[in-house]
Symmetry: C2
Subunit: 412 residues, 2 copies
């Protein structure tokens, strides 16, 4: 039966539930998607559509026909916008719903139209000025906003939970110590950090490990905040915060560290990043890059990339090797800690919801819902395994100043 | 000055040392190579050539002009053959000499002639029959031969030294336990092993961890030896040794393990290996692949590939990802333990030298020297960092039956 051959229009409302054109379209789409456990409610007909035999994890209430048709025609962009605009309400567990969606088979992935659509959605390239613009849009939303939900450390990257019971702040400190142990920091070492956020790791390294740090970031608001913290902690003689691009790093250091910057570097710049790393650490240093990643090459979710992270990309390990292989760097250790990022963002989302009235007063309801969806989607992605978190430890390929085992990372 | 314009021939012998055509040619080559600390001795002129300002780590004594010219024209193949044939004698430390050579900049790497030469040297492809032929040439040299120098475990793969003081046998057992811990083996688990050597790991897993193992290998001599060991250890009901190709693995298992087989798989078969792994462990299993690797794509040393390991290739991490990415497998952990392989082969070489009279009686002097060079070259490669050893732990991408941290690998 062809839906297009059915009469449409005013009569639809008077039909029995589940019989309108839209309802039959939804049913057909759900069937093509393998009957996921999601209920659709069409507010304008009162119909509720559920795939046969499935107990829905959540219910999507569409406010009007235009929203429904928009979402069905371009779900990857329109769903997020419609949710943010309040044209879709989610009844049930948002994170579980998103997990169901992320676990669906990637339909048409790699097709010509899919690739064309990705190309059309391309953001500002990560040139020096493009990066500045892309980073500004996200990280300069205001330090106050981020301080509402990042916890005391103001670390906006995946934490490390020694146990699932650790608090967010404990896990952020544990992450920094995990990174510092992997890097075998010694008092007196010099460290260069690329993409330092609000300065949390740089200050932790200097304060706890007695090293000197030069930390680069192109977000003005973050750098200003970091400098205030350095003064407050009496570390301004040991930590220098530099408002500049990682490509302008100069000098020689014992250690290169970059936590959560690679997502904004752009694949076209991986070889240059490798050269920067290599010249920074010379023949005897070591380094660590920590980044969201993928199991197979795929663009970031286009809605996230458009509304939240312009210019961002989560690489596969194979793509990350384009940093290391041409630059003469040897990978010593890769750890995938994706479940930690799910735990981290669950903590962020809880704090975000607790402060939602404040967020609403700073922005608007669209923003509130947009960021809720982004955070919930991140949890779902890391739990469903569509997103990874890789920590890659490396050294110059000719260096034998490398540890025999990894026991030192796990002291008792 | 053009060497070709000088008169050559009978007069050369009567010149002062260092003045013959060959000596000047050697000097020129050493200079182009950056004056490495290697001395050349030309037996037929009595000349000794050393780069200025360098204290040689070793001295190469060439028996005749033809050998010298052959090595200078095609060093990567001819050096090994000439050494094996006794036309070159090494005075000094063979391993240090090879390290100096391996640390030289890769001259002309990637040039057209280089790539052409690599292509001309291609071995039998790793089809089902090609693999059998390639594996037969190396692993069926005789169990007696390998038992002279592999130690009691008969493990012919990189060991794991908890400390540098561990013995070879201790380190081989530690390697197996390291792998079993990474794989979180539980009593009752089923394991499939691809490329099981003489059965050491399969028997260790069954005997110490109470799992059932099906172990595949296409080397007949190894499989026969492994079956005898299984009977001797009373494990024949728990370990099945199957003389067949990994591509013919069928059935479903909790764990996939492959230690030191990937080197023989061939890049053209990585995607198929991934499919075999994926169908073997289903949505809930886990696996580990352990392989010699590289920091950047390069063929195996052509002499090693021709004389020792036909059809072998050591992949980069990026190339290894061609196994995992298309197959829906997620990399959890990569450990590079190249220094352990240098320690391992040092132990093998010492045992080999202690048994060299026996080796000579089984084969001949050419074989003795060929294998000495191969073992010494392996030590040099792992110490110089031109060879890596990667252990890659993975799980199906949708599996959340993955550990939160790696603490369990390092019990106290």
């Amino acid at each position: 039966m062809d839906a297009a051959s059915e009469p449409e229009g005013l009569y639809a409302r008077e039909r029995p539930p589940g019989k309108s054109l839209e309802a039959r379209l939804v049913r057909r789409v759900l069937s093509r998607l393998g009957d996921p456990p999601i209920a659709f409610v069409l507010a304008w007909t009162g119909e509720r559509i559920v795939a046969e035999g499935s107990a829905p994890v959540a219910q999507l209430r569409f406010a009007d026909r235009a929203t429904l048709l928009g979402v069905l025609s371009d779900p990857r962009i329109r769903f997020g916008d419609a949710y943010s605009a309040g044209r879709i309400e989610i009844e049930g567990d948002l994170i579980q719903l998103l997990q169901v969606i992320y676990r669906m088979p990637p339909e048409g992935h790699g097709s010509f139209t899919h690739r064309l659509a990705d190309w059309l959605r391309r953001p500002a390239r990560n040139t020096l000025s493009g990066s500045r613009s892309n980073v500004h849009r996200h990280y300069d939303l205001g330090n106050e906003f981020y301080s509402l939900w990042l916890g005391e450390t103001m670390a906006y990257t995946c934490a490390y939970f020694p146990t699932e019971q650790a608090s967010l702040d404990e896990a952020q400190v544990a992450k920094m110590d995990h990174v510092c142990r992997k890097l075998r920091l010694q008092a007196g070492d010099s460290v260069v950090e690329a993409g330092c956020g609000w300065g949390t790791l740089a200050l932790h390294m200097a304060g706890r490990y007695g090293v000197r740090v030069r930390a680069f970031n192109i977000s003005r608001q973050q750098i200003q905040y970091a400098r205030v913290r350095a003064r407050e902690q009496g570390l301004e003689d040991r930590v220098e915060f530099i408002e500049d691009d990682y490509r302008n790093i100069s000098g020689r250091y014992d250690v290169f560290a970059s936590i959560g910057m690679l997502e904004h570097v752009g694949r076209e710049n991986y070889a240059e990043l490798g050269r920067v790393v290599r010249r920074s650490i010379g023949p005897d240093g070591r380094g660590l890059i920590h980044s969201i990643g993928r199991n197979y090459p795929a663009p970031l979710h286009p809605w996230i990339e458009r509304r939240i992270f312009p210019g961002a990309y989560a690489p596969t390990l194979s793509e990350m090797m384009q940093i290391f292989e041409p630059a003469g760097l040897s990978v010593l250790d890769v750890e995938n800690i994706r479940l930690h990022y799910a735990l981290t963002v669950r903590e962020w989302l809880a704090r975000y919801e607790a402060a939602v009235a404040k967020v609403r007063s700073m922005f608007d309801e669209f923003f509130v819902r947009m960021w809720r969806l982004y955070l919930a989607g991140s949890i779902a992605g890391f739990e469903a395994g569509t997103l990874q978190l890789f920590q890659v430890l490396f050294a110059p390929r000719e260096s034998n100043r490398i540890p025999l085992t990894r026991e030192f990372i796990y002291p008792r």
